[in-house]
Symmetry: C2
Subunit: 334 residues, 2 copies
């Protein structure tokens, strides 16, 4: 129960409840009594009530994303903010970009705001997962507030992490493509992040397990831009491939445009798999089969952890994994 | 000049500067002297420095959006946050949904955080522009902090607003369609907001100016969902139309899917115009001509206003308008 419930029960606005609690004289005596009666019945002491109003604590969680204009990240922030709000917490959002120095700066600015916890969204904060030193800035932050990482694993005290099982999802899809007879599977990624490396590891393991070579020229780093991807593939006559796994849907849309321009039949002559199951996957024709990384699930789980840690619960999972699933549409037929 | 510049000039981390300023004993004497020398040379007094660190002021602007998972709004927040950060301000983000009661609640929570200013993103906060009482909650907020509205006009003291010229943009496009010979122009919108009403007013004025009737069954409210729009049009045999103006790109993608399923040639048999010039406009085939509402420009202008008002400048524009332009692609030929 909070100020909003009190307002509703008393049949007055939140502003009025606020005025009564703060002793303003702009409230009529009748209204004042009505509000105070509800507060009395609800068993509130002024002090507890003040806490609910955020007077004794900021009740604020810092959320850091590299780029809020990215579809995946804005949808994650949407879930996180909604969940936090339910628990009476607000969020301070900061967008750091992808450079380490900028990330550090933004974390410091957030810590200066007396946040109760810090959430890092996106695997860029976990580095490549191969260089421990590059994540020291996260351990530094964790000395001040608990840190929660969405889709990245970082070791350390007071750090809680979650990942979606990207490695396994790409492994399964790659094996399905091989089972169907594909032998030249192109892997397109726009990132060197932990998550991107996990996806590539799944791709390579599937090839290895099937006794196929991992061809260097079939693993390409591209820009996250539809036309860039289309044009790059149109120019790359030398690369021979019969299917494509992309680390996001925007890249996959570029591949669809390439295949159509070449007159290829999808999926008969070319399978295409996207990632994130975003609105982009259903905006083109044929609609794209896309790996769904269950953003809402990973965000819900993270906020549960945040609240548990802030309430002093000692049984919080240090790390949890959410499975990914392929949402089948018209660019694959398995 | 701020803590980050000091850190760079002293060749140490921000954390180290922070420790020196806060008198921590975890810093070596050599490092301490190096940092203090830089601070001395920069002419900082501890007090001014403390301000820069956010100790005496929160330096925080509240940003309220109805839905951060919406492409237009997440891109607006991206620009706003980046701009604010340059001026040393952080942002507290809150997502209110579209209900008035929820909007009020979120504004109260933001005001409780001692924000310096409040930015409302999206024309939903301005109501329909026809009912003054429905925007009283904004005037209430403006009694506490300056309020800045992005794409909506609300009258009131301490309220600053900006709109993109949606009415004119749709007026121009509608006249072009009529000039080309179109007589049955469908208007699809997903909203009753100020901005949506402006767009519809432009559509109606163009029809009037050309002596054409405004047909009620050609103005349809739809869900913001690609497949919903496609299926609705496929079912609506009775509605006869030769071109479509949509109030966002997602609706326009649905129209493209409808036209292709019907085997219509675009734009020969049907023109389609989207709105927002988002990535969705280029994700389908043919790529969609879309009205660009210059999000970055309206956000930059708003932050300039925020900073001017906070600095006590008395010459701030109460209201400014940004023009919209049609980005021509393959779903129109004018």
């Amino acid at each position: 129960m909070n100020i909003y419930d009190i307002a509703e029960m008393a049949g007055v606005s939140i502003a009025t409840v606020s005025r009564v609690v703060n002793g303003s004289d702009k409230v009529s005596e009748t209204t004042r009594q009505k509000v105070l009666n509800v507060i009395d019945k609800a068993g509130y002491t002024p002090n507890v009530f003040a806490q609910g109003l955020g007077l004794n604590t900021m009740h604020t969680v810092g959320i850091l994303v590299p780029d809020i204009s990215d579809i995946y990240m804005s949808s994650a922030v949407f879930y996180l903010e909604g969940c936090l709000h339910k628990y009476g917490y607000d969020c301070i959002l900061s967008c750091s970009g992808f450079e380490t120095k900028q990330k550090e700066q933004h974390i410091h600015m957030l810590l200066d705001k007396h946040i109760d916890a810090l959430i890092l969204v996106g695997s860029t904060y976990a580095g490549s997962g191969r260089d421990h030193a590059k994540t020291d800035y996260i351990r530094d932050a964790a000395e001040k507030v608990p840190v929660f990482i969405i889709n990245g694993a970082v070791e350390g005290k007071n750090i809680y992490s979650s990942v979606c099982d990207d490695r396994r999802a790409v492994y399964v899809v790659t094996r399905k493509l091989i089972g169907k007879g594909r032998r030249h599977i192109l892997f397109l990624t726009d990132s060197h992040s932990y998550s991107s490396n996990e996806k590539m590891a799944g791709y390579e393991k599937a090839l290895n397990d099937e006794g196929l070579p991992v061809e260097g020229n079939l693993k390409i780093h591209v820009k996250n831009d539809i036309h860039y991807v289309r044009d790059l593939l149109l120019k790359s006559e030398a690369i021979c491939f019969d299917s494509v796994i992309c680390t996001n849907d925007s890249i996959a849309v570029g591949v669809v445009k390439f295949a159509k321009e070449r007159g290829l039949s999808i999926p008969r002559e070319m399978d295409i798999v996207g990632y994130n199951n975003s609105v982009l996957a259903v905006s083109c024709e044929p609609e794209i089969s896309s790996i769904d990384n269950h953003t809402s699930e990973i965000c819900d789980g993270t906020i549960e952890n945040v609240i548990s840690v802030l309430q002093g619960d000692s049984n919080v999972r240090k790390h949890f994994t959410v499975p990914c699933t392929l949402v089948k549409r018209s660019t694959t037929d398995f």
